[in-house]
């Protein structure tokens, strides 16, 4: 037997779809709006997560970090990269920056100390850094509320610490810190600026110094740093970039550990993963509810065509081909709804991306697992959300057709022809 012309089933399904134009448009519209809602919701969620990740990693930590492999969890003063001899910092930074996707790398040294001014003394986390490099990695520079980033012999302190101690730019403070050689270092510094990151812990207890100044205070030579914070172009590519950096810096020194933010911001990563799963759940709920509505409509359409199915069966159409017609109708309905939904979704997502809705009049800035989040509804462009929603939509069409199909293939021809 010659090969059958299977286009006929698509043709019948397509024409059946438009027999009751109004019903099809209403059903497809419901699916399209479901699609737009799912895509927009996921884009807004992505926007919020991007904000959380961005603030969680771009404020201070970067998206990839390099440490000595024994630095964590104790964060010992002596656990500098390359051991007590240190390493070629410039070489390390150059190796890290040679990796594709890396946009900046900043060396850091950490220590603990006391900041004193007159009667007031507060404990502080001391961060020695390169102000020029920090601009590409952290937001310390842009968070300067007063003054500027510190140069040699200078210090910048957090806004809350400034309020507590009553210190302002231009004033002098004494810094006392444990040094690497066991001695206690103390030095006089001029306050260059006050920063405000909006994160209580940092504004309250962080003090920034020029890297060389802190190395001097802590009796460490210039080859000794605790950390290199690295900024990457795309936060979701941090894992791959970290692998690249690890390979690139392996030749600089032994015992270096390169970690992406998903490792050192474990809680943040968990929350993002949970939110991603929630996205999928909500999309499933939206389309899961749609299935019942669409199935009901298709069932009605199938019931109205019992006689036609009976005629088709009478002239020799197999049950399989009858089922095929109904499933194709569901699939085509899904594709029509998808096309309409895509046309609607693109401008909506673009609008929310270009013109984020600022809710700061209603909600203040809040902090999620240590990351400041602005109350702004902003859509993030992504292929994942629309792709998931599109697949869900097409499957909704197909799944909605399964029960009507089951009914259609079981139409008893003689009874249906007799109107029973």
């Amino acid at each position: 037997m010659a090969r059958r012309d299977n286009d006929i089933w698509w043709r019948i399904a397509w024409r059946n779809l438009w027999r009751n134009r109004r019903r099809t448009i209403i059903t497809a519209s419901a699916l399209s709006f479901g699609f737009v809602a799912a895509v927009l919701m996921m884009a807004l969620m992505d926007g919020m997560l991007e904000e959380v990740v961005s603030n969680g990693t771009r404020v201070i930590t970067g998206q990839v970090q390099i440490h000595a492999d024994d630095y964590r969890p104790d964060q010992s003063l002596h656990a500098t990269m390359g051991g007590r001899e240190g390493l070629d910092v410039a070489g390390l930074l150059a190796a890290a920056e040679s990796v594709e996707g890396v946009t900046g790398a900043a060396p850091r040294l950490y220590g603990g100390g006391l900041v004193s001014s007159g009667e007031e003394t507060v404990g502080a986390v001391l961060v020695g850094m390169d102000p020029g490099r920090e601009e590409g990695v952290s937001r310390f520079g842009s968070a300067m509320r007063e003054g500027r980033m510190p140069g040699p012999g200078e210090i910048a302190i957090g806004a809350t610490m400034a309020e507590t101690t009553g210190i302002g730019p231009g004033e002098e403070v004494v810094l006392v810190a444990s040094a690497a050689d066991g001695s206690t270092g103390n030095e006089l510094y001029t306050v260059s600026g006050i920063f405000q990151l909006g994160l209580g812990g940092f504004d309250n207890s962080y003090a920034l110094l020029d890297l060389g100044s802190l190395q001097d205070l802590m009796a460490m030579d210039r080859a000794r740093i605790h950390e290199v914070a690295i900024a990457v172009e795309h936060t979701d590519a941090a894992d791959e970039v970290a692998e690249g950096v690890a390979a690139a810096v392996a030749g600089v020194s032994e015992g270096l550990l390169v970690e992406p933010w998903s490792v050192f911001h474990e809680q943040l990563y968990f929350m993002i993963s949970m939110a991603g799963a929630m996205n999928a759940m909500i999309a499933m709920l939206i389309f899961g509810m749609a299935i019942f509505g669409v199935a009901n409509t298709m069932l009605l359409a199938t019931f109205e065509r019992r006689r036609e199915f009976a005629v088709a069966r009478a002239v020799g159409t197999s049950a399989r081909d009858i089922g095929r017609i109904v499933v194709y109708e569901g699939l085509l309905l899904g594709l029509v709804a998808l096309a309409a939904g895509a046309v609607l979704a693109v401008p909506v997502v673009v609008y929310f991306h270009e013109f984020p809705v600022d809710l700061s009049g209603f909600v203040g800035t809040y902090s999620v697992v240590g990351s400041a989040v602005r109350p702004v509804l902003s859509a993030e462009y992504s292929w994942d959300g629309p792709l998931v929603a599109a697949v869900a939509l097409v499957f909704t069409g197909i799944l909605s057709a399964l029960f009507p199909m089951w009914r259609a293939v079981r139409v008893p021809p003689a009874d249906a022809l007799a109107g029973r």
Binding site: D5, I8, R11, E308, V311, V315, G316, S318, P413
Partner: protein
């Protein structure tokens, strides 16, 4: 046609008939009493016959046609089409028999409304896997013969009742079936159109040797039938009556 008492002998062994039944019963379970729609019908229709089956409403004509065409299964009894017992077949095989060996014409035309006249007529050929060019050639040839030229691309609602019924006849005969079962094909047609349709079917019977079995109330159909079967209360009444 033979009556209830005919012996079928080695039923199905020979294929000199289009359709044959043996002690055919159809009982519908219903409260308070089951309905015996067909009661022990023995029937043989030879190939090339033009047979009318008459009887009052509820006499079981449509049910017999449905049983002959494998649209419903008998409660008891057997049916052979050209020597092949169809009552023993599964759904898929039965669909294949209907596609290849049986044509149906219904009282209310029953064309598929989403297909054009040409697509409806070629539907069985399409199921049979006939190439598009051959299908179109055969449909157009038959349309010319039965006065349907020019309506190929029209959808059923744009056709008159007579045209729709002729398309249905075309669909039924184009697949070269052994048997065409027509359930009151002229019931919804005016007398002129009904005569024209009968002309068409008679011509197909004469020229192509297509076997027709009608159910009808229409005296014109009975007059033109080669043989007439009378069905009363689900049973064949008396012997066959030669007419026409």
């Amino acid at each position: 046609m033979q009556g209830n008492s005919e012996s079928n002998g080695a039923s199905g062994a020979a294929a000199d008939y289009a359709v044959r039944t043996e002690e055919l019963w159809k009982i519908y379970p219903q409260d308070p009493r089951p309905v015996e729609a067909v009661r022990g019908v023995d029937l043989t229709v030879a190939s090339g016959e033009f047979v009318a089956m008459a009887g009052p409403s509820g006499s079981g004509k449509t049910t017999v046609l449905n049983l002959l065409g494998g649209l419903t299964r008998p409660t008891r009894g057997r049916v052979w089409i050209e020597g092949r017992e169809i009552t023993a077949l599964g759904d898929r095989e039965l669909a294949a028999v209907r596609m290849n060996r049986i044509g149906f014409v219904f009282q209310s035309y029953n064309l598929l409304p989403v297909l054009t006249a040409l697509e409806n007529a070629e539907f069985t050929l399409l199921l049979q896997g006939v190439a598009a060019s051959e299908r179109h050639e055969r449909v157009r040839g038959l349309f010319k013969e039965i006065g349907l030229e020019g309506v190929e691309d029209r959808f059923p609602p744009k056709l008159s009742g007579g045209q729709q019924q002729r398309v249905a006849v075309a669909r039924a005969v184009l697949g070269n079936p052994a048997l065409v079962l027509a359930d009151e094909p002229t019931a919804n047609l005016d007398s002129v159109t009904a005569e024209a349709l009968l002309d068409v079917m008679e011509k197909l019977n004469r020229t192509k040797g297509t076997t027709f079995v009608f159910s009808t109330h229409d005296p014109r159909v009975m007059e033109r039938a080669g043989r007439l079967i009378r069905l009363v209360d689900g049973r064949i009444e008396g012997a066959a009556v030669e007419s026409g």
